[in-house]
Subunit: 184 residues, 2 copies
DNA sequence: AAAAATGACTTGACGCTTCAACTATTTACC
DNA sequence: GGTAAATAGTTGAAGCGTCAAGTCATTTTT
């Protein structure tokens, strides 16, 4: 976290003086939560990616795209909506959809009403790919997270994660996961 | 998570039959925790990277490297130890140290006793860089996470994160954050 | 005392993400 | 109605991370 004032010290950390306006370092308790959280932020996505890559040849983001489409009405979403739902930028999505299109799992369709919009549509093969991939991915999510925690912890995790998201993404666009009225 | 059986449904999800050995989908409660966690996994690192990049021109990984070195005895660590401490691969670290070396914040030193080992050493400028960067980064960590949670939640987060890490990294190498005897 | 195996890195190529610039379409304004 | 502004999306270049291969030093084997 912070550079050590005394490089050869153990794990004790300086406590801020009351009146000082300088940086407030983390307390030991805070550090004990923050350090493993950093680990989760780095290693959990890598583990999920590894499972998907190994078993299905998909990145987590690609899986998210296919999965979101599979849950959408008519298996169709606007590129910009899909980007938000998949937690990615429009540019990233555009590149990924190009690759998914090449693999035959998604196709683009121009919107008739408004030529600016492009719809991404999940193909039959794409649907088959998602349904084949989902069970293994859910199993990984259970193995790494869900089955490791008690029901109380699941509730705590929901609160904590929602709170963090409300700070990280001020505009509450992170409600992305929830169903929303289809716009077409 | 899983493809919808009925594409036009809302948020209700199928519950597995007792005897079936097929995939166990997430329950609503589990999904309510998992969805925002995905958001955190994607958006929190991006937010931390953005703060560091904007205010200091460092990636989070680069900051971790400098920070770990600043806390180490003699501001020196073996490449392989540093890689574990910074939650990265040795290859990634090697590339990053090359860049940090070019910027004058780190230098490599061959180990005299065993020529296979390379030590990374934080320079004076590197120390200055970390101490200048740390306050802003800690402030971001407080803003996004620590100050947003109650003390109870900090404790819950520690338990949850440690539990997940124990599942993700079976070998308990993720204790990386803790001080450990220097080997030289 | 070679030869082989292990360990600690380094390097280069490839793929993916980001960023900025660009195209195309629709809406707003005068 | 024509120009400007806004919206939606695409594209190419640059940078970073990963993977596989390679280097060099030490240890083990025979």
């Amino acid at each position: 976290m912070e550079p050590a004032d005394r490089p050869d010290q153990g794990s004790a950390h300086s406590v801020p003086a009351g009146g000082e306006h300088g940086p407030r370092w983390l307390t030991d308790d805070e550090r004990d939560a923050w350090m493993p959280l950093i680990g989760v932020l780095i290693k959990l996505p890598a583990a999920l990616d590894a499972q998907l890559q190994r078993d299905s040849g998909l990145s987590h983001f690609e899986y998210m795209v296919l999965s979101r489409l599979s849950e959408a009405p008519e298996r169709t979403l606007r590129m910009s909506d899909l980007a938000v739902l998949a937690n990615g930028s429009l540019s990233r999505l555009s590149h990924v959809v190009t690759r998914l299109e090449r693999r035959g799992w998604v196709r683009r369709e121009a919107c008739a009403e408004d030529g600016r919009y492009t719809n991404a549509v999940l193909s039959g093969e794409g649907w088959a790919k998602v349904t084949a991939t989902a069970p293994g991915h859910v199993a990984a999510v259970r193995q790494f997270v869900v089955d490791a925690l008690s029901p109380e912890q699941i509730g705590q995790l929901r609160e904590i994660a929602q709170t963090i998201m409300s700070r990280v993404v001020p505009g509450d666009d992170w409600l992305a996961g929830l169903p929303h009225p289809a716009r077409r």
